[in-house]
Subunit: 596 residues, 2 copies
């Protein structure tokens, strides 16, 4: 079975030493978010994740969720409900929510380590509270006053959970095709009819009610994506005063048998004239849904980091314990029958790859978290807008890279176990199966790449990129005479210049042929991710040196950064070459020739 210890030391380093959140929170007016409070939150979240959630990870995988096809009830794995009760008793669901709705009002970024720890301990369990946050965001920004009054408090307190009902059997990415209908009722509510699939936590036994945010079309809806509206549709009906009524006309028709996250339930939801209320303007549902989506995408990105961290810890433990053959340069532990496999360069390569991608990603994710706080709370409107532009730009990079890297990381960690990694009891194969969902849900990697290259770059004259490059440039200038940092500053400067240049080249080509956007998107996304991580690794070295951490910690950061620059950053060479090869190698093949 795999184990988990929350990486508090690295989380603290990232928050306090690299991102200096103490100064940021003070500036943003979070007067209660003092170091003492933050540390207590981190310690307590770690304790909860390690002792309550982590022990339930394998039982969730082995038992899974069960649907009673007669009652349409879903039973979650043993222990999940008790853990959930403890979670809401601890106030964790409302950690960063506004006190107006029962939240604790901590900065948004403090939810990031909480979610990392929860997901590392038990990804499947973490999916139950995950989407409530998106439902809260959608209702907060687009709901009517009475809707906020009725729904937000129970969602924030975790007494109810939320869902996002978007996908239908024939449409996922292309929501313009959806068929679910909303017919007006006499009382101002709507009757929702249709089938939604892939609904995470669509039905379960953790809470009394479930709040479905459902995309559907009004009778007079224009065709396509411009005719989609959003409805709030609870499992048990509610009137405008919050009185809970009878069971709504919706139920879970079946649950999916998945490769992993078996403790999480993925439902087919049938709406048979279920009572729902319009959220926001008619036909503007997609916009409201994007509010939820961006939050969810960053959340899924965190899942990638979480699984990577857990995979690393277990692979490292195994590499230290497993004795097998001698070091190429002579026995390292001569009194044992063989050396621990950690002595072998290729085992180190695998472990350092996981370590470098995971710790670097943690900064990517926490930085995005701070930007959300700035975008919401900075005094200056310009600063808020810049933060919003930047986090919009970084969201697809963060989601796609962190999840794709989690596939690679769980792969490498499993590989360190040799054949034992393939056996269920070690828990490594569960991590690999669980990780596999993260590049699919909340928009596949291809969709993130198109979002980055199209909407966030071509669509904004690269506004987000320019802001990020300016930030990196400030860092480079501050350290251009720092000899101890030259090994990082020089290649980072070169890569950032090339990043800007590649962007110009793609946009130039795309002005002739729109397929160039799609053709470059995947490699551009990874190029971006690797340069972003190079920046965070260079900053980590600086911040570690300046910190009060141990010499061993500082040296570990520098050596991991050196590994990153020597062995992972060169992947940009392949991505740049692929980008520069253009669309022809993808588009010239006629459809029928794919099969010959």
């Amino acid at each position: 079975m795999s184990t988990y210890r929350a990486p508090l030391s690295d989380i603290r380093f990232a928050l306090y030493d690299v991102l200096d959140v103490e100064a940021l929170f003070e500036r943003l007016g979070y007067s209660e978010a003092t170091r003492d409070v933050l540390d207590a939150v981190l310690d307590e979240a770690a304790r909860f994740a390690e002792t309550v959630l982590a022990p339930l990870n394998s039982v969730g995988d082995e038992v899974g969720c069960k649907l009673d096809s007669a009652t349409h009830d879903v039973t979650t794995p043993p222990g999940f409900k008790a853990a959930y009760d403890q979670f809401i008793d601890g106030g964790w669901t409302g950690l960063t929510a506004s006190p107006d709705f029962g939240g604790q009002g901590l900065p948004h970024v403090m939810g990031v380590p909480l979610n990392e720890m929860v997901n590392a301990a038990n990804l499947a369990w973490g999916n139950f509270p995950l989407l409530s946050h998106g439902a809260v965001e959608a209702l907060k920004h687009h709901g009517e006053a009475w809707q906020q009054e009725v729904f937000l408090k129970p969602l924030v307190e975790g007494r109810w959970t939320g869902t996002m009902c978007l996908t239908e059997p024939h449409c996922g990415t292309d929501l313009g095709l959806l068929k679910t209908r909303a017919e007006p009722n006499a009382d101002g509510s709507y009757a929702i009819t249709g089938t939604k699939i892939f609904i995470t936590a669509g039905e379960h036994d953790l809470t009394d009610n479930i709040v479905h945010l459902v995309l559907a079309k009004l009778p007079d809806a224009p065709a396509g994506a411009k005719g989609i509206s959003l409805f709030v549709t609870p499992k048990f009906k509610l009137d405008r005063n919050g009185n809970v009524g009878e069971r709504n006309a919706l139920h879970c028709g079946s649950i999916e048998h998945k490769m992993g996250i078996k403790g999480s339930v993925t439902c087919v939801m049938n709406f048979d004239g279920a009572q729902g209320y319009l959220v926001g303007q008619p036909h503007k549902g997609l916009q409201a849904m994007f509010t939820m989506m961006n939050t969810a995408r960053l959340g899924v990105g965190l899942q990638g980091i979480a699984l990577s961290e857990r995979a690393y810890q277990n692979a490292l433990r195994y590499a230290r314990e497993r004795l097998q053959t001698r070091s190429l340069s002579g026995p390292k532990v001569p009194d044992k029958p063989a050396d621990p496999i950690l002595v072998h360069p290729d085992v180190r390569r695998m472990l350092l790859t996981v370590k470098a991608l995971t710790e670097g990603s943690r900064l990517l994710a926490l930085h995005a978290g701070t930007l959300i706080d700035v975008a919401g709370h900075a005094d200056d409107a310009g600063e808020r807008e810049r933060a919003d532009t930047l986090v919009s730009f970084l969201t697809p990079i963060s989601k796609a890279c962190q999840t794709e890297w989690s596939i690679e990381n769980t792969y490498n960690a499993l590989q360190c176990f040799g054949g034992h990694g393939y056996i269920h009891e070690h828990g490594m194969e569960q991590l690999a199966r669980d990780a596999r969902i993260t590049t699919l849900y909340e928009g596949t990697t291809g969709i993130q790449a198109l979002d980055l290259m199209g909407r966030k770059t071509a669509g904004t004259q690269a506004a987000g990129l320019k802001l990020f490059l300016a930030e990196i440039e400030a860092f480079l200038q501050a350290h251009q005479d720092n000899a101890a940092l030259a090994e990082f500053v020089a290649p980072l400067r070169e890569k950032t210049a090339e990043w800007a240049q590649l962007t110009r080249e793609i946009l130039q080509r795309a002005s002739q042929d729109p397929e160039e956007i799609g053709a470059a998107s995947y490699d551009y996304l990874f190029y971006s991710g690797y340069v972003a991580l190079a920046y965070w690794w260079a900053r980590s070295v600086v911040s570690a040196e300046a910190s009060s951490h141990s010499e061993s910690f500082k040296q570990s950061k520098r050596e991991t950064a050196q590994f990153y620059f020597a062995r992972l950053l060169p992947r940009t060479l392949a991505h740049a070459a692929a980008i520069r090869s253009g669309a022809a190698s993808l588009m010239s093949m006629a459809d029928e020739r794919f099969g010959t």
Copy 2:
């Protein structure tokens, strides 16, 4: 559920047009291996794979193998035994074996497409006959006359199956640590005692007897790998005249719960003084085992191609059927509600990656197969030796690259399905889970890399590489004035020169520090694999042009080659940079700093 059609057209192209096996077989004296016979074999193998094995693929995954803990019997999934009976009735187990032992005497390379098709149709099922071939090789080369008499015919005919009992709980790669003992009996046999794990097909209900090839230590064995002997230890005892006696003192203690290949059984085998016979010389067992191992490694490499091919077919079908959003350059199928996702550049990128790696790998594998025929049957001793050196060099590249690419290929194929890929019923997640074993068993990728870089390169002054580079150079010279091929010839020339140069650099550095071998090994292996595939793609273009295949086929080969050179071959840039960064970035971190 995923489907499978044998890719006969591409297999025939590879065999006849690229490798010209007709001329080769004639030269090697295989007078019966005429085109008619070969075509009939391919057609019939395809029919068997498609109609008998493929339908059992999902039931194998869903039902798995069951151990009766009272009787220690293993029951295979429904249909597996009936399929196996048909397989041996068809004479498939002895297709390439010598007629002296009941085989059909076809060239070795003809087993390669057979095994590809069998494994694509049903990888788990394919593991039952897989290791018999290795047992046959070990007994043929190292067994006494009576052992060959008694064991070979039933193994070749498939009436019995074979196993390789190497691994123990505390040792896999490092067999020098093994603890299984062999004590001499009065009758010249040995009593084998110990526990072996990860024994594929160690127990099952397909055949009357099972022939275990077991590594164990004699009482006077020197320590380490030089003290290992090989024993043949049947499930039911046999005397020297082949009379089957009572049950031997060995049994399956438990079976593993694995991530995939659930229809294949992986046993813990307990030997409690089981009667075995020494195969070959005392203490020389490892050498005999390597005879089995090399065969098995190429066989596992084929499994990678097999899964990749099946994954491709299903992803392509889905990409043609699934309608979702419009092409970036305007609607391609305006009368449908959306375009098929095959129009999208990034979906094409994923599909072409699978296609290019799979068809290229097929040539890598078939070429290795022809080399084994040459090594065994060429008149000239020098030619035999050169072929043996070359196939030894190519084996770790073939095994590791083809299996690692199968992870990538099943990943990309699943990704084409979006969220649907994660659901069991589509069958794509089974392919991904099944593929995951291939980089682990018969030597992990790291072990293959070390075999290539150490034993096969540093240990031979790069003898194998030099032979392969000479072959490529001959091709380049033959086509240096071919303008239609210049787009492939120029980069291939550049990469082969760099391959030789990188090899020199590594060996130079390794003369100072042996860790440089391990530090370079993984990236060197992939560098080698990508250049080898570039060669096969360039040759494919030439061979396609010269063939009688359709214009569409020729164009598809050229376009896939263009894609390969534009978008996959540049991965060598990253591998070369990693190689040149040397061992320091892997070795400088002290063990304790991995955890800080």
